[in-house]
Amino acid sequence: MTKKVPIQITLNGEERAEFVDSGATLLRALRDKFGDTSPKGGCHQGTCGACSVMIDGELHLSCLTLAEVCEGRAIETTAGLAKDGVLHPLQQAFLEGFAAQCGFCTPGMIMAAKALLDHTPSPTRDEVVEALSGNICRCTGYEPVIKAVLSAARANSQKVA
């Protein structure tokens, strides 16, 4: 029988604890144990980006991260971005810009974009392309996604000004 390990994390600002299988990935733990299915498993080998989450403010692939090493850390996912029913500017921009079709890559795209905007609030188009280069989308052709990220950055900078 697989050994069970207790882990405690801060998930989208909330203190949570669960038992997970030793050796389970953070992706499995979030989806199957913590009930956050916003990160998606598209490849389970670190190539598609659909499982992207933030760990202590840094972008990570949850399918390649062991749940056990996340003990005590703060995890952010797309499911936690909306505050009091108000969408994050990135979510709003994706919604308005037709940047999601089947939607499967969208949570990963949004987390990758958030990681960019958190430290580069006014990125160039090239910086956006680079930041999204680890995320595969088979529907949109990427252009609406790139435009949505740039538009969210503009909306943000206007709010700050």
Binding site: T2, R31, G42, A79, F98, C102, G103, F104, I110, R138
Partner: protein, 456 residues
């Protein structure tokens, strides 16, 4: 001149076309951006079993023996399934619309016909245990010669791929191929100033959806099952499952919903019947989800095609005769390919009025991954070949390629090769708009043309 032909679908639709040119939000996009849209795999159930498929490493082989004893003893394994467990093991998807024969095995019994064919299903209480046990299944194969392309498969004396067909091609009611005959193609060639014959090839194309194919099945008691699936063909899947499991449809509750990318790649019935059977035999929920490797290697791609087009044209740009021979590589099993090849036959003249047409299309079997639906299958590669051919023909007579298409475009009232009169074509008007948008000017007389001949 563009005019709105609202009378065309007046008996079917009462919309006022106000939506044209307006952006419209998808109804599911708020859930997508919030991360709350539910996909089939977002459900997990207590005591769920994970199904891992043992697949053929050979393109064509006879199965001498299958030994699952060691796999069955592996810790965590609940059940191992072989062909003996399947109530109706040999099926074909389109039998629902009387396109037989049944030619494909749910789990291989005596032979495998492509590399990746399912042979043994292992069920365990973790993915890891299922993978480990699958590696312990022993299958003894006698490797057979295999055929890998259309030409090889159709050669005299070629290895027979699929005994259920008896030949390496699908037998239609019209024989070894689908036919369209219109006018006198040889007379058309004789009257032509130029003849151009070209061969076009395409390779298989994988859809590569970000969400892999799969389903999750939950037993509901009283021999009823709920199957959460990302199939794109819910009722094909329900009805085929009913046949394969010999269970009435009211025992099977299929729940579809958001598909994480399909593009036609999720219309085959490959995961649901075996997962429901596994749930039935174990009494536990079952998850069967393709790995990324399986999605790329196992799921059916768009078919490889070979297309030979011979056209006869006049020096002033009229196509007088078109002869096409099209081959669709179905891989080892039919799935949707007999239909795809047939669709090609009706499509081949393209959106052009050609007075003399001869078309043959073949659905060919090879020891490759079964191909199936993908975005306009049967016509997409045909269009690629036809439009490249159109450019070459225009070049041959030193004519602008868009003007060449105006000359040959079908217009309302023209008879198409498969005896369907052209109605509501609007091709001329589309090309006029394309000419303006692409800044590719054509002579005034083409800009004054109309799809309605009376207005021309």
């Amino acid at each position: 001149m563009i005019r709105l032909a609202k009378d065309y679908f007046a008996d079917q639709r009462d919309d006022d076309l106000k939506q044209l040119g307006q952006g419209l939000q998808r109804s599911d996009v708020p859930g997508h951006v919030a991360g709350t849209t539910t996909y089939f795999a977002d459900r997990t159930f207590p005591r769920m079993l994970y199904l891992k498929m043992v697949r053929s490493p050979h393109h064509h082989a006879r199965i001498r023996s299958i030994d699952t004893s060691e796999a069955e003893r592996h810790p965590g394994v609940a059940r191992v399934l072989t062909h003996r467990d399947i109530p109706h093991n040999v099926y074909t998807i389109l039998i629902l619309i009387q396109i037989g024969p049944e030619d494909e095995q749910v789990l291989a019994a005596d032979k495998v016909r492509w590399k990746g064919e399912a042979v043994v299903a292992v069920l365990a209480d973790s993915e890891r245990a299922a993978n480990e046990a699958a590696a312990k299944v022993k299958i003894d194969y006698e490797i057979l010669p295999a055929v890998f392309d259309i030409d090889e498969a159709l050669k005299e004396g070629a290895t027979l791929v699929n005994e259920y067909h008896g030949n390496n091609y699908y037998t239609y009611d019209s024989g070894s191929h689908r036919k369209v005959r219109f006018g006198d193609v040889e007379k058309g060639f004789a009257e032509s100033d130029h003849i151009l014959e070209q061969t076009y090839w395409s390779s298989p194309i994988e859809h590569a959806p970000t969400e892999t194919t799969g389903c999750v099945v939950v037993p509901e008691g009283n021999d009823r099952f709920t199957c959460y699936t990302n199939t794109q063909a819910m009722f094909f899947t329900l009805d085929n499952t009913s046949i394969i499991l010999q269970m009435p449809g009211h025992k099977l509750h299929f729940v579809g919903g958001t598909v994480g990318g399909g593009f036609g790649g999720k219309v085959d019935v490959t995961v649901e019947p075996i997962a429901i059977l596994a749930s039935r035999l174990t009494g536990r929920p079952v998850s069967f989800i393709y790995s990324r490797e399986e999605e790329m290697q196992i799921s059916s791609p768009r078919a490889a095609e070979k297309i030979i087009i011979k056209d006869g044209i006049t020096k002033d740009g009229r196509i007088l005769a078109r002869k096409v021979t099209g081959y669709t590589d179905a891989g080892a099993y039919s799935r949707h390919s007999p239909y795809g090849a047939q669709k090609g036959a009706a499509h081949y003249p393209g959106p052009y009025t050609v007075p003399n047409v001869w078309i043959d299309t073949y659905c060919v079997y090879t020891n490759r991954t079964p191909s199936s639906a993908m975005r306009g299958f049967g016509v997409t590669i045909a269009d690629f070949a036809l439009e490249v051919q159109m450019d070459k023909l225009a070049r041959l007579i030193d004519m602008d390629p868009l003007e060449f298409r105006f000359i040959n475009a079908y217009r309302d009232g023209d008879m198409k090769a498969h005896r369907q009169p052209t109605e509501g074509a609007a091709l001329i008007e589309c090309m006029q708009e394309a000419s303006k948008t692409a800044n590719w000017p054509v002579a005034d007389r083409f800009m004054r043309m109309s799809s309605y001949k009376a207005e021309a």
